[in-house]
């Protein structure tokens, strides 16, 4: 026999409430997540459109209205959904629109550029070094179904107005341009390294919305794929090597030189200096108020 315990609630009350709640959940599940997890994928679109039509949050900078090719909810999508739920949903969300830490795949550039898995498969098979993305050992059939599901979810996401969970450009418009300029030139210390008419001229043409904000707060992703962190290593023989930091732990230091050649040394045998221009951004994290960030965003968005 089961014994049910729950502070200050009797057995009967719990059982009744529990039954009621199940009905409530079922009745109230006009939610894309619940629906996506169910077998009835055809209902997803309907529900999402209903839910978002009340929202009225169109993109501030809607892209030129190119027709979005329809992605059908095929058997492969349904099979891929199960692969996704088992392996990917924890980080990327059940509907691929983002979960714990994992990015929203429905707005991913890589997914948008993928054709039949040519971009997706290598990432799934190998993982992504330097990120939390692990490698998965999936069969070709599973991979094919998986990419079908991801493309289906991207289609659903692209055809819904406003957007659930993702951050829209229109969401990041609460700052004050003047206050942002003041902060940029003053307390923020941005002008120590940057110039609105120099390196940051036209930044708002190159990045927008969340991507711009993330880059503003931590640009350590590098510039055109080149690591911004530099290292100079002097060997015991007095030879000096300079390049982009390629690896560093307590025991090994590695760099890629201007010739794209990798070199590494045991840390205890050499002297080295690491120069990280991004550190100034990291040092600012404890200093920003949310208002500072919103104001800075407002200002950067004028640099077109």
């Amino acid at each position: 026999m089961m014994k049910w315990t729950m502070s200050a609630v009797s057995l009967i009350a719990v059982l009744i409430a529990y039954n009621c709640s199940q009905n409530t959940v079922n009745a109230a599940s006009t939610n894309a997540i619940t629906q996506a997890a169910s077998a009835s994928h055809n209902s997803v679109l309907t529900h999402v459109i209903q839910a978002s039509s009340a929202g009225m949050f169109a993109q501030a900078k809607a892209p030129a209205a190119a027709p979005i090719p329809v992605v059908e909810n095929t058997d492969a999508v349904k099979a891929g959904s199960q692969v996704f739920q088992n392996n990917c949903a924890f980080c990327h969300g059940r509907d691929a629109a983002g979960g714990e830490e994992g990015p929203d795949l429905t707005r991913s550039k890589l997914v948008a550029e993928d054709k039949d898995g040519d971009k997706i498969f290598p990432v799934v098979r190998n993982g992504r070094a330097g990120t939390e993305m692990p490698a998965f050992n999936l069969s070709t059939a599973e991979l094919n179904n998986l990419q079908a599901f991801i493309h289906y979810r991207a289609y659903i996401s692209a055809t819904q107005k406003g957007g659930r969970r993702g951050v829209d450009v229109s969401d990041l418009q609460t700052g004050n341009v003047e206050a942002g300029k003041l902060y940029f030139e003053g307390a923020g210390g941005c002008t120590k390294c940057h110039s609105a008419t120099g390196d940051l001229a036209g930044i708002a043409k190159r990045y927008e919305g969340l991507a711009l904000e993330q880059r503003m707060l931590n640009p350590s992703g590098g510039k055109n794929g080149v690591n911004l962190v530099k290292v100079t290593v002097t060997t015991a023989a007095g030879k000096t090597f300079t390049g982009s930091l390629a690896y560093q732990d307590e025991f090994t230091i590695g760099l890629t030189d201007s010739d794209s050649t990798y070199h590494s040394w045991p840390t205890h045998l050499v002297k080295f200096t690491v120069t990280d221009p991004v550190k100034a951004h990291i040092d600012m994290l404890p200093k920003y108020s949310d208002e500072n960030i919103h104001d800075l965003m407002a200002y950067l968005q004028t640099l077109k």
Binding site: M1, S7, G99, T174
Partner: protein, 516 residues
Amino acid sequence: MKFLQSSLILTLVTVGIFTMPQQVVGQNLNESQLLHPTTDIWPTHNGDYSGRRHSILTQINPTNVKDLALAWAFQTNQTATIKSSPLLVDGILYLTVPDNVWAVDARSGHMLWRYTYPPNKGDHIGQRGVAMYKGYIYFLGPDAHLLKLDAKDGKVIWNVVVADSAKGYWTTMAPLVIRNHIIVGVSGDMDNLPGIIRSIDADTGQSQWVWYATPPAGTPNTATGGPAWVTGTYDPDLNLTYWGTGNPTPVLQGSSRPGDNLYTCSIVALDPDTGKLKWAFQPSPHDTHDWDAVETPILIDGTVAGKPRKLLAQASRNGYFFVLDRTDGKDILTTTFGPTNWALGIDKKGQPIPNPEKDPARDGRLIAPEESGMNNYRSSSFDPKTGLFIVDAHPSWSIYFTKPEDGTYGWAGADYGLWGKAVIEAIDYHTGKVRWSRDFGTGGASAGVLTTDSGLTFTGDNHGNALALSTTDGKTLWHAGLGQGIASSPTTYMLDGRQYMLTSSGGVLFSFALPE
């Protein structure tokens, strides 16, 4: 070595230890061994009921640890990462990844049997180990089923449902055995579901009791959630079992669930025989940042102002370090162990007061720590000699968003990590001050922690190096690059007069020992 209370068992086991080869005792584990584990077993997720992950072994010491070398490696041949601490009983290790259990010879690393769980629809995010009682292994499938396996060959004895995976529950944890209670918690915060802790009869598989963290879904103005997904601890003298519970749902949107949202993000003390709540303390009242308070509540028999006290300490995901009186849950110390910016202060109970301005918002809120927290499922260790609580900390920053159209179901928002680093910190439990810390650089957290009586701290960095540090000052005394990140917590045992240290990297289990 400590010996056993029950006179009948004493006789049997004594015979086993002293006069017969260990195999005669044969894949068995009784209550006395669980209460007083000897150094030749690691019979529970944490090695013992206290959760302190400290060993009295001293063969490997700060002087000779530089010679530590590979004894053997066990390849799971899986891409799934090992997150479990292998149990060790009678010279056999029991190791898991999702859907898989292996029995491995602890002396040689060769496989004795493998059990594979059939394909299922549960979330496969991780498997954190098995429990053992008598001659049986208790294993949770991803789909929230508990299996009882014969430890001799991995054959299924029974398979019972812990929670309904179709509703969105899944399971990853190592169960906790207290007498004939197999106590399990669940995962599942992608749906609005009450977290539960369930006790299941070790023999029959019958459910004995269920404790609910929250009211049922649909109860107005309340949270769901609070899943307990990391193995709890147990004080046999008080007969109380201690568990941390997870975050409330909806996760990032708190408007539909005003108030503290008890008992989510809480440390709870339950009677293991009835499931009745004795006391609760809430590290994160009204959490809106996914900061489960599930990190192991470590039991410390220590002192406060010179007087002996029964204490409990947790380095919580939200960045706060708590020391409580484990008899009544009263707070003794509350402090932070890294950058936090989300609380207005500490209330009379010693709980942080969340700042409503730091709830996720449409235009974003800058938050420290990030969602994966200052600490997570990897184990901390308490070293009684130095009084140090050693944790793999993750100072970090992120931005959190939510808006009304994200709804009030499941995740209900979005968050993005900005930056983080891995730091091993040694916190003095008397003062909460960090006595030493080791910075392992940008990225995710490093590895779980084990301390030993010889003054060693075994852990890892976030590049995949296994490390032995000096417990007194944190200096690196030994390292071995294992090739991938270390997602588990190290363990140790002594067999045939040789001390082994186990750790893992990716899907490989490594055993290190001093050269013979």
